[in-house]
């Protein structure tokens, strides 16, 4: 839907809208992209950034730097990433990626 809108605007712009109007719309686009990126960096299970310790590790209040070292990120073959802690609890009951429902297999782990 957004794409369609953009095309219309661009077409209109070529015809009769002043260039500074178009600049405003481009800016709006950039903001939308930014929030999409943030969504990807957040563990969809506990809603904490994957680079920070997961909610469980935070709640267990491990010493800050140990906690952060233990709590690694895991990427699936589907390219979705979660905290290893969060994902290992979930796969015990259902071995599928919670975001795309594909069979879960680990592609890599780390930070």
């Amino acid at each position: 839907m957004a794409d369609k809108g953009d095309n219309n605007v661009e077409r209109m712009d070529n015809e009769n809208i002043k260039p500074d109007k178009m600049f405003t719309l481009k800016k709006w686009n950039a903001v939308a992209m930014w929030s999409w990126d943030v969504e990807c960096d957040t563990c969809a299970i506990c809603r904490v950034q994957v680079m920070d310790a997961c909610l469980r590790c935070q709640a267990e209040s491990k010493r800050d730097f140990y906690g952060k070292q233990d709590c690694v990120v895991v990427w699936g073959e589907c390219n979705h990433s979660f905290h290893y802690c969060c994902m290992s609890l979930w796969v015990k009951q259902n071995n599928r990626c919670p975001l795309c429902q594909q069979e879960w297999s680990i592609q890599r782990m780390g930070k």
Binding site: A44, I45, C46, R47, L55, Q58, A59, W90, Q93, P98
Partner: protein, 151 residues
């Protein structure tokens, strides 16, 4: 001491306040973040329009790995709502994903009001009327809508 489930629920509440979906609202009860009260407003262009339907949501410490128990407190006449208010909805049972939050749960229930699934009925009378006598179905639903103002 705050558990992971409680922390997750605080995040859910924050998201619900910062980015409230249209037609639903919810908040934890005063003294227990594991029990929430919620309201779903009947979607426009459905017989549920104008209704304010109250629900309770009960979470366990296994949330978000296990779904909460969601129940209508308001009387409902809907193919997928049991007489006790329990809801027959796949994402609250076998299709649950730990990526759902309160906001997603409430909007899914809201869309269930617009699109009942009469093939897995929790209320067989409602399912039958929905399929065979839409006018009578809408009449019974409208009675619930009016009752929802009083509850």
């Amino acid at each position: 001491m705050s558990t992971p489930a409680r922390r997750r629920l605080m995040r859910d509440f924050k998201r619900l306040q910062e980015d409230p979906p249209t037609g639903v609202s919810g908040a934890p009860t005063d003294n227990n973040i594991m029990i929430w009260n919620a309201v779903i407003f009947g979607p426009h262009d459905t017989p549920f329009e104008d209704g304010t339907f109250k629900l309770t949501i009960e979470f366990t410490e296994e949330y978000p790995n296990k779904p909460p128990t969601v129940r209508f407190v308001s009387h409902m006449f809907h193919p997928n709502v049991y007489a006790d208010g329990g809801i027959c909805l796949d994402i609250l049972q076998n299709r649950w994903s730990p990526t759902y939050d309160v906001s997603a749960i409430l909007t899914s229930i809201q869309s269930l009001l617009s699109d009942p699934n009469p093939n897995s009925p929790a209320n067989s009378m409602a399912a039958q009327l929905y399929k065979e006598n839409r006018r009578e179905y809408e009449k019974r639903v409208k009675a619930c809508v009016e009752q929802s103002f009083i509850d």
